[in-house]
């Protein structure tokens, strides 16, 4: 026994890679003394899927869809950051209407991400009612996104040179109606979060990080803004249509989890403001320009304010069809390093909410496919097998028979 007296009652407990508080595999090894955290050791990389390497083996266009799958929640952020970089290298001038549509989807994504976060935060402090309420309301924006893009997550709306789907004037009305409901709910949540004692007790003073430390450690997004760091890529390095829109950057100087909650909630109100402006100001015109298959040699760095913070993409082309290098820096990577600081001298019970407060990325799971028969309004759920049959039929009706294609492919492989 060489342990000093100080460490006599210390023991280590693992949080993760699999743990109810974490929605994504990560490992936090916590040294505890009673309920007090003495030290934290973070091990990341459980979710490393080699996407950067895989990008080098695919064409620029294929990479849009691969990059979109970096994260389930901020999928639009990643694909936007990537296509912006590629467009800059290729010197494409993207139609303004496309830029507005990107902004719109980006802000809707922020709304859905912040609602999701609020629910998770509620769950982490053992307040499941908040989780149930916010996730119920989040359905409104998810449905809206599904209506606009065809998908709830991984919208697939971006393409190099513009967007793939237009927004009709009728959608404008739906968007405004949804936003009106969400704004009212958001105000209710702001009231709950700032007035309900049992929530404030669990949030304020927890996970403190001073302005200096936040800057020093390179915190980004709401984590930084809640410590009074006035930074927002949408304002400083405007992309898409943000230069033409009016919004405020929300900051707060509580420096704790409470501040991060307030920042996110107030950002929702700003997002609603932006969405209304987009719907009102969206210009007419084409939604995409043709992009060449081969992107000229060059490089570009693209910065994007994702819901969780700054998302950085670097793309380098050597003049071929495939990129030479694609680098992705997701906001969580910048923020995770602040967690150690935030947990110093805190209690074990604060651990989940402190980790959740930087809003680490986690992937979304599948959903069932609901089919509504228009004639009799009956709702049914497709089984996997039926979904497959449906898909085969759908493609066959459009002149593409998967069975024949598979056979051809098989023959090709044999010779």
């Amino acid at each position: 026994m060489h342990d000093s007296h100080e460490h006599e009652h210390e023991f280590k407990i693992p949080l993760g890679p699999q743990h109810p508080a974490l929605k994504e595999p990560e490992n936090f090894s916590i040294a505890l003394k009673g309920e007090k955290i003495m030290g934290v050791d973070i091990r990341l990389g459980y979710n490393h899927r080699g996407i950067e390497k895989a990008c080098e083996e695919r064409t620029f266009l294929q990479d849009v869809y691969l990059i979109e799958r970096v994260c389930g929640i901020c999928s639009h952020s990643h694909s936007s950051a990537y296509v912006q970089a590629v467009e800059e290298i290729a010197g494409l001038s993207v139609p303004r209407r496309a830029l507005y549509i990107r902004t719109l989807i980006g802000e809707l994504e922020r709304v859905h991400s912040h609602f999701l976060w609020l629910g998770v935060a509620g769950h982490e402090i053992g307040f499941d009612t908040l989780l149930m309420y916010t996730w119920r309301d989040r359905e409104i924006v998810m449905d809206l996104l599904a209506q606009l893009t065809g998908n709830r997550v991984n919208y697939g709306i971006n393409t190099i040179g513009g967007v793939r789907r237009d927004i009709t004037p009728e959608y404008g009305k739906d968007i405004l109606a949804a936003i009106a409901t969400l704004e009212e709910r958001t105000k209710y949540y702001i009231q709950i979060a700032t007035e309900e004692t049992s929530i404030i007790k669990r949030l304020s003073g927890v996970g403190m990080i001073s302005r200096q430390d936040a800057v020093r450690l390179g915190a980004v997004g709401p984590t930084a803004r809640a410590s009074g760091v006035d930074r927002d890529i949408r304002r400083e390095d405007p992309y898409a249509a943000y230069a033409e829109l009016d919004f405020n950057v929300i900051t707060d100087d509580h420096c704790d989890v409470f501040g991060r909650t307030v920042v996110r909630l107030k950002e929702l109100l700003e997002s609603f403001k932006i969405i209304r402006q987009v719907v009102a100001k969206i210009p007419d015109g084409p939604i995409a320009v043709r992009a060449p298959r081969k992107i000229p040699a060059g490089e570009a760095l693209s910065r994007y304010e994702a819901p969780r913070g700054e998302d950085v993409h670097y793309v380098k082309s050597n003049g071929g069809e495939k990129p030479e290098r694609v680098k992705v820096r997701a906001p969580t990577l910048a923020n995770i390093q602040t967690v150690k600081h935030m947990l110093r001298d805190r209690f074990l019970a604060d651990m989940p909410i402190v980790i959740a407060a930087i809003d680490p990325c986690f992937s979304c799971t599948d959903r069932l496919v609901g089919v509504r028969h228009l004639d009799n309004h009956k709702r049914e759920t497709l089984s996997w097998e039926n979904l497959r049959l449906f898909s085969l039929g759908w493609h066959r009706a459009r002149g593409f028979d998967v069975a024949i294609a598979e056979k051809k492919l098989h023959n090709l492989m044999e010779h």
């Binding site: 990389g45 020093r216 400083e236 910065r303 290098r325 680098k327 910048a334």
Partner: protein, 155 residues
């Protein structure tokens, strides 16, 4: 004269040899190539006098005989600089910048794992992002590394 041009002038005044490599790509995007011998001097100047006090990321690249490193630095104003340098693969040693940016630790570990650079002064710690039993001499983001000719194990 634009703000970007100001920064360029000021830097070139201090380091004459950067005249040709300091380029303004577009508004708010600068790029600068610097030999590794001069790197720390230029880096310190840009960070402290040039007010590039935000580190966005560090990108590693495979440049054939060399390993390239791009330090993406930014100012509060939104001006972003790609500070590039390279070291030969035969001796891929760089100094850590965690003294200036403590948050760079994880970016440097990434370069260590994926490109096989050696970062001097980086404190002991868990590797990132590869698994603990990943072979030390295999670096997936180098161009000559292919999944097939890697360790040959089932991934």
């Amino acid at each position: 004269m634009s703000y970007e041009e100001d920064i360029r002038q000021e830097t070139v005044r201090r380091f004459d040899f950067l005249k040709d490599s300091f380029k303004i790509v577009r508004p708010r995007r600068l790029t600068l190539d610097v030999a590794y011998e001069k790197f720390s001097e230029v880096f310190d100047f840009l960070v402290h006098q040039g007010k590039f006090d935000i580190l966005c990321a560090i990108t590693g690249t495979d440049e054939g005989e060399d390993l390239g490193f791009i330090y993406h630095l930014a100012q509060e104003s939104g001006v972003t600089l790609n500070l590039k340098t390279r070291v030969p693969k035969s001796h891929p040693v760089i100094q850590t910048i965690t003294g200036v940016f403590p948050g760079a630790e994880i970016y440097e570990r990434e370069i260590v794992d994926l490109f096989g650079a050696k970062v001097q002064g980086l404190r002991q710690g868990n590797r990132y992002p590869l698994t603990d039993d990943w072979p030390e001499d295999e670096h997936p983001l180098r161009k000559d590394w292919k999944p097939a000719n890697g360790s040959g194990r089932e991934m």
